[in-house]
């Protein structure tokens, strides 16, 4: 015959932001650490090698921070003018940076003075990067040129003069040492090949390009400029895959999560948006205090570093995983016990008969199944349940009421137990979704315990609190009704003009209080 049906726990829609695995993931960071820099933070770059230090470019300095340090562990300050775009090499040992005066400088992480200086640009160099073979540097400058430099003999190898405006961003392919991409204020993003001396693909972004990003596979290109983030399929010759317009100010920086599943974009509207790279839908969004200029994610998304126009560097660390319990765990049966017989492959003539899966019942359901009603109520009134999941408690009270045994379950309790019930009522009685059930329970409690009132000061006090709560609620309701009356009058004047029936707005749940509680 049909088995026992567990109590239906009433579920309520979660108000506010929807909880998804993404919100859980991206909210799992500690409160940000704020570090004050000397000027607007134009670039943050993480070293891809342990210990995952990061270089912060702000004003004329480059600071190297350790993962958890609040003070820079190293500073490069030998710039005459503003420094730009300090970038680590893949092995984390060299750092390249451009500057306002048109120089490109290469630093050793351990040294202080620049190893190489590449002179050739006539205007500010806003974008530098290492190519995939580690021996070349690509730079883009405000003199509309893109140059490729050789590190060993610090010579210029190639110059591309295809852009017709400032080149403000660039990125080298991680797979092919000859490919790199630059974005310019002439609204184009161009992909260059060092083996030819011209661009191979050029796409029209439509706005001045502020940031470009190549996917690790090199197949997809993301460009940001204006309010748009655009994704291009490079393997299809630069076809526009999707255009995202989720910011309401210029998008300044782009970044990929370490898994490659999420794309992050920072904007002057003080928001960082997280997109899924499969559907290109926004899955999460962060708020910051100032316009965002730079953004970087550490290895395994351990840290989010955001640089802002007001010179504040915001560093968020991921919360450490739940501590492993030190209590030695009980020895469990070996793995092979569980897979015993499970790995048997079905033969052709075999008929597979599944064992009916055993239904797991909650403890309170087990009590209810055996008609131990008081025990079931006790179980859901325990603080772990009644505070964390009040809807379970309310559902059980409702079920007991449906079975007609709520009075029996509530009766015969001592001071401690009754105050536990009253605590729950005080906490939840005023919630509209629980009110109908709990008011009924409160009535029953008052009926039962009226004769013994005055015997325990603790319980009496709780009753008084409950009474105050009810009075306050009645006042609220009166005010709401007044407001509703006023609104009705406003609507009535509107209907005369339109002469159609008016959509009635749902009034808030009205309480049905009774004066018994006040006894």
């Amino acid at each position: 015959m049909a088995g026992y049906k567990p109590v239906a726990i009433q579920t309520y829609p979660v108000l506010g932001e929807k909880i998804t695995q993404d919100t859980l993931y991206w909210n799992n960071y500690k409160t940000p650490v704020q570090i004050k820099e000397f000027g607007a933070v134009s670039k943050v770059d993480f070293s891809s090698q342990p210990p995952y230090n990061y270089a912060v470019t702000a004003s004329s300095r480059i600071h190297i921070y350790g993962r958890y340090s609040q003070e820079p562990i190293k500073t490069f300050s030998r710039f005459k003018d503003t420094a730009y775009c300090a970038t680590f090499r893949q092995d984390g040992r060299l750092l390249v940076a451009g500057s306002e005066d048109g120089g490109v400088q290469l630093f050793d992480i351990s040294g202080r003075a620049p190893l190489r200086q590449f002179e050739g640009h006539t205007k500010a160099v806003h974008s530098v990067d290492f190519t995939a073979d580690k021996y070349h540097v690509v730079s883009g400058a405000d003199d509309y040129t893109v140059k490729l430099w050789d590190i060993p003999n610090s010579q210029e190898i190639l110059t591309f003069k295809e852009h017709s405006d400032y080149v403000r961003c660039g990125c080298a392919s991680k797979l092919n040492p000859d490919l790199f991409v630059t974005g310019s204020y002439d609204h184009t993003v161009k992909m260059f090949d060092a083996r030819t001396n011209q661009s191979v693909i050029s796409v029209e972004h439509g706005q001045p390009v502020e940031s470009v990003l190549l996917f690790p596979s090199g197949g997809l290109l993301v460009s940001a400029g204006g309010r748009y983030v655009k994704v291009w399929d490079m393997l299809k010759g630069g076809q526009l895959l999707v255009s995202l317009k989720n910011h309401h100010k210029t998008v300044t920086c782009l970044c990929l999560s370490s898994s490659g599943q999420r794309l992050l974009s920072g904007s002057l509207d003080r928001k960082v948006k997280v997109y899924s790279t499969t559907s290109y839908k926004v899955v999460h969004s962060f708020d910051y205090t100032a316009s965002i200029l730079s953004l970087a994610l550490a290895h395994e998304d351990e840290t989010i570093v955001v640089g802002m126009t007001n010179g504040i560097l915001s560093v968020k660390h991921r919360k450490s995983e739940a501590k492993k319990d030190l209590v030695p765990r009980r020895r469990r049966p070996a793995y092979r016990t569980f897979i015993k017989g499970k790995n048997y492959m079905k033969q052709q003539d075999d008929i597979l008969i599944n064992r009916p899966s055993k239904k797991h019942l909650e403890l309170y359901d087990r009590d209810l199944k055996n008609f131990r009603i008081s025990k079931a109520l006790d179980r859901v009134l325990e603080p772990t349940c009644s505070i964390k999941t009040p809807e379970v408690t309310v559902s059980i009270i409702k079920e007991l009421n449906r079975r007609g045994v709520l009075a029996n379950a509530l009766a015969g309790r001592d001071e401690k137990e009754i105050s536990r019930v009253l605590n729950f009522l005080i906490r939840n009685l005023s919630q509209p979704r629980f009110a109908p059930v709990l008011i009924n329970a409160a009535e029953i409690i008052i009926d039962i315990y009226l004769p013994v009132i005055g015997q325990s000061p603790v319980v009496d006090k709780k009753f008084l609190v409950l009474q105050g709560l009810v009075e306050k609620e009645i006042d609220y309701q009166r005010e709401l009704l007044e407001t509703l009356g006023m609104m009705d009058m406003l609507f009535a004047t509107m209907t005369r003009k339109e002469s159609t029936s008016v959509l009635q707005h749902n009034t808030s749940d009205e309480f049905l209080e009774n004066n018994k509680i006040e006894s």
Partner: protein, 827 residues
């Protein structure tokens, strides 16, 4: 082809199965239960109805196996006859006419020539137990007037009488006393409980009694849930009793197992309790049987129990308390709130079933298809509890969606309301909960309808409520990157001057929605939800509302509480016609422009555009009709006469207050009956080996010669030689597994000769003829039929039975025409 007779009202299934205790056959293969005027024979293994024994002209009130021949069954009826049946073939053997209303039947193995019946003489409440001597005679109808009274003033229910210890005594209970009559001493001893003597409001009335099969021990059940076991009751002073108490509500029935080692009891808790060794500690339970246990019976072989439940169900239970089969009729335990609906997919009738369930009931096979659990909560069966009721349901979009409304109201102000919308899942072939809306309205929902227009791209559902609003719910895409989902959300809330919304209805093309607000009908555009126009007749609240269909789609019909049927024209926005007619039920036919309206005393169908009814049937039944529905026919009929045309495409079913399901039929009673009286025993099928094809057939052929003569006028179909399985089997079977060639030769040659003898086949039915008969499609049924006979070693009787078959059948059918259905009203 159909002969056009007058349209009659016929009952169509849904008969009661739990009226009396079910009876097992001696070998536990069959179970018998009374069902209205019939006795139904079910197979305990397959749950199929094997036979329906028809012959009584009134309610059958008792059945017992013939103690001297366990292949025969006695039955008694309110029509004053006791009939003896051969249940294996479904044949009436004898009829004993007693002459007064019989209310229960008991048989004893020690008194072979007489049976005990309960009769009612004089006052309606006074029942007597009498023994009837059944005279031995060869004729079919025998007068049996020799009555001798045993006990006077007994309870009406047969549960209150039990015979003990091989017929030495009979125990009867009524109110507060137990009386035992000893046949040998011819004395009656009467016992009363000491507590009930003094107290005025004692709750220990006796409710049922059972006697131990071996010892002198009587078990009685009481209203307070106690079971008492009486011993030493032959002495009025020294009697003792022990008490067993588990039930908290009255004990509905008691039964001892065959050996007497355990006692079974059941009641409202829907738990079967087995008391072992008559001890309070030793008890076993079978819980959650679904509904109140009304009767318990035990098979003579001792391997099976069965419980009859108040929801028209018989559960067959193994000795080890494991339910093995469920015979479920139309659940009629409770009032029907949802009305009758048709599932567009299965064409099954859908209505309230078990508590919290929606039942899908096949009208063709008179069988419940399945139950859909809507409320999904543990059902506690206790008097005085306010249960969650399933009040409304509607199918939408060709059966893809189902909307249900459930409510529970404890006090005036505390209404719990929930709307659930279910989606049909093609993979699991069932409905899956899609959306749950808590408190969709602030007051009772009065109507629920889907927009079933063919071209509508979005699904729409409308609910109307007493809170003065109607809400439009639409299907919206709720999917995001994590999952794909659809759900229903509220799209529009409409109201009209704070009147209660009472009905809602979509036009056929889905472009208009009509909502009635008490006396006023409002028409809304379903695209923009603008109020288009209103109709008001000031003739009382609108009770029903429906749009015309097909050519009449410009009309809207409404029925008011004051008994006025109005028809509005939607093009001119004016009243087309109205007529004074107190319509109870109004139902449109989905396949034609007809609308059926049932008034207090008659049913009529209307075409929308004229006030003149198309057809009127008066006096359809004695009680109020609550619900009706048109069921589309699978194959349209072709009635030509005007009065019958409305039944061409659909059939109209309706449900009365006593919850009997009736319909209009034009077929003669014989036609209606033939499919059900078909004798099917599809139980033991031999494996179809090559041997079976050759030898099994040969054997049956010899036995079936006589039967074949009766059927000789049937059309004979000749299969092609290539299609004869015997031949193909013979040719494809390895030689070493075949019987000897000499044995096969004659048969093989005969089967080859078949095709040449086509013309003579009808004239002289011989062996060959039989052979081909066997190869036609219905051969399986026949085979099993004959094998059954052989199993029971009744081969000698066989000829007689077959001769009787045609005669007696004819007779039964003639009688059936005269059957009065008045007993339905008496229920």
């Amino acid at each position: 082809m159909v002969e056009e007779e007058g349209i009659r009202v016929v009952r169509c299934g849904g008969s009661e199965l739990n009226f009396r205790r079910a009876v097992f056959s001696a070998d536990s293969k069959y179970i018998f239960c009374v069902s209205g005027d019939f006795i139904k024979v079910y197979s305990t293994a397959t749950e199929e109805c094997v036979h329906i024994l028809q012959g009584h002209r009134n309610l059958v009130t008792g059945i017992q196996l013939n103690p001297s021949n366990h292949l025969q069954l006695y039955s008694c009826s309110v029509d004053g006859t006791i009939k003896l049946w051969d249940y294996i073939d479904g044949i009436l053997i004898k009829t004993f006419r007693v002459g007064c209303e019989l209310h229960a039947l008991f048989t004893l193995s020690c008194a072979e020539d007489s049976v005990f019946v309960m009769i009612n003489k004089g006052k309606p409440d006074v029942f007597q137990l009498a023994s009837v001597k059944l005279p031995k005679s060869s004729s079919q109808e025998i007068e049996a007037k020799e009555l001798s009274f045993v006990l006077d003033y007994v309870n009406q229910s047969p549960k209150c009488i039990a015979f003990g210890n091989e017929g030495e005594y009979v125990a009867a209970v009524r109110d507060f006393y137990l009386s035992v009559y000893f046949f040998k001493k011819k004395t009656t001893t009467r016992f009363t409980l000491s507590s009930s003597r003094n107290k005025k409001h004692a709750r220990n009335n006796f409710t049922c009694v059972a006697c131990h099969p071996k010892e002198d021990c009587i078990a009685t059940g009481h209203k307070d849930g106690k079971i008492r076991l009486w011993r030493n009751f032959d002495d009025e002073k020294k009697y003792t009793y022990t008490c067993l108490h588990w039930h908290h509500d009255l004990v509905m029935d008691l039964a001892f197992s065959v050996t007497g080692s355990s006692l079974l009891s059941g009641g409202r808790e829907s738990v079967l309790v087995e008391w072992r060794e008559a001890a309070e500690k030793n008890k076993e339970f079978l819980p959650r049987l679904g509904a109140t246990i009304e009767h318990i019976s035990v098979s003579p072989a001792g391997d099976l129990f069965c419980t009859s439940h108040s929801d028209n169900k018989i559960t067959i239970i193994h000795r080890n308390l494991e339910a093995s089969a469920v015979i479920q009729g139309l659940v009629k335990d409770r009032s029907i709130f949802t009305g009758l609906m048709i599932d567009p997919r299965t064409k099954a009738l859908v209505l309230n079933g078990k508590p919290g369930h929606l039942q899908f009931y096949s009208l063709q096979s008179d069988k419940q298809l399945y139950n859909l659990d809507i409320i999904q909560q543990e059902y506690i069966n206790d008097s005085g509890l306010i249960q969650i009721e399933l009040t409304k349901a509607a199918f939408g979009c060709y059966g893809n969606w189902l909307a249900t409304v459930e409510q529970r109201q404890e006090k005036e102000t505390e209404l719990e309301l929930q709307m659930k919308i279910w989606m049909y899942n093609k993979k699991t072939q069932g409905f899956v909960l899609n959306t749950k809306v808590n408190m969709p309205h602030e007051d009772h929902i009065t109507a629920l309808c889907f927009c079933n227009a063919e071209k509508s791209e979005s699904s729409t559902l409308v609910t109307a409520s007493k809170d003065g609003h109607f809400k439009v719910w639409i299907l919206t895409d709720d999917s995001d990157i994590y999952k794909k989902a659809v759900g229903w959300t509220c799209d529009f809330v409409g109201s009209y001057h704070k009147y209660q919304a009472t009905n809602c209805c979509f036009s056929e093309d889905g472009s208009l929605l009509a909502v009635s607000f008490e006396e006023i009908v409002t028409i809304w555009d379903s695209e923009t939800w603008e109020l288009k126009c209103t109709f008001c007749q000031r003739a009382g609240k609108i009770r029903h509302l429906c749009f015309g269909r097909l050519t009449c789609s410009k009309y809207l019909l409404g029925v008011t509480e004051n008994g006025i049927l109005c028809c509005w024209n939607l093009l001119s926005c004016a009243l087309e016609w109205s007529t004074k007619l107190n319509v109870r039920v109004m139902e449109p036919d989905p396949n034609s422009e007809n609308i059926a309206a049932i008034t207090q005393s008659s049913a009529r169908t209307n075409l929308c555009h004229e006030p003149r009814p198309l057809y009127i049937q008066k006096n359809i039944c004695r009680e109020e009709v609550l619900w009706g529905v048109f069921v589309p026919r699978d194959v349209p009929e072709s009635f030509t006469s005007e009065a019958h045309q409305w039944l061409n495409r659909s059939q109209f079913y309706f449900l009365t207050k006593s919850q009997s399901l009736l319909t209009f039929s034009t077929q003669s009673p014989e036609e209606k009956l033939t499919p059900t009286s078909k004798q099917l025993l599809a139980e033991e099928s031999l494996p179809t080996t090559p041997f079976y094809f050759l030898l099994g057939k040969h054997r049956q052929q010899q036995q079936n010669d006589k039967l074949n003569e009766a059927l000789e006028n049937e059309l004979v179909q000749l299969p092609l030689t290539e299609n004869i399985p015997a031949i193909s089997e013979l040719l494809h079977t390895p030689a070493h597994v075949l019987p000897s060639a000499s044995f096969l030769c004659s048969m093989f040659v005969n089967s080859l000769l078949l095709s040449t003898e086509t013309k003579s086949a009808e004239e002289n039915p011989d062996d060959v003829d039989m052979e081909e008969e066997k190869e036609s499609d219905d051969s399986d049924e026949e085979n099993n039929f004959t094998e059954k006979i052989q199993d029971t070693n009744n081969t000698d009787l066989e000829e007689d039975i077959i001769h009787q078959l045609s005669k007696s059948e004819e007779k039964e059918l003639k009688k059936f025409r005269k059957v009065d259905y008045s007993w339905i009203a008496a229920l």
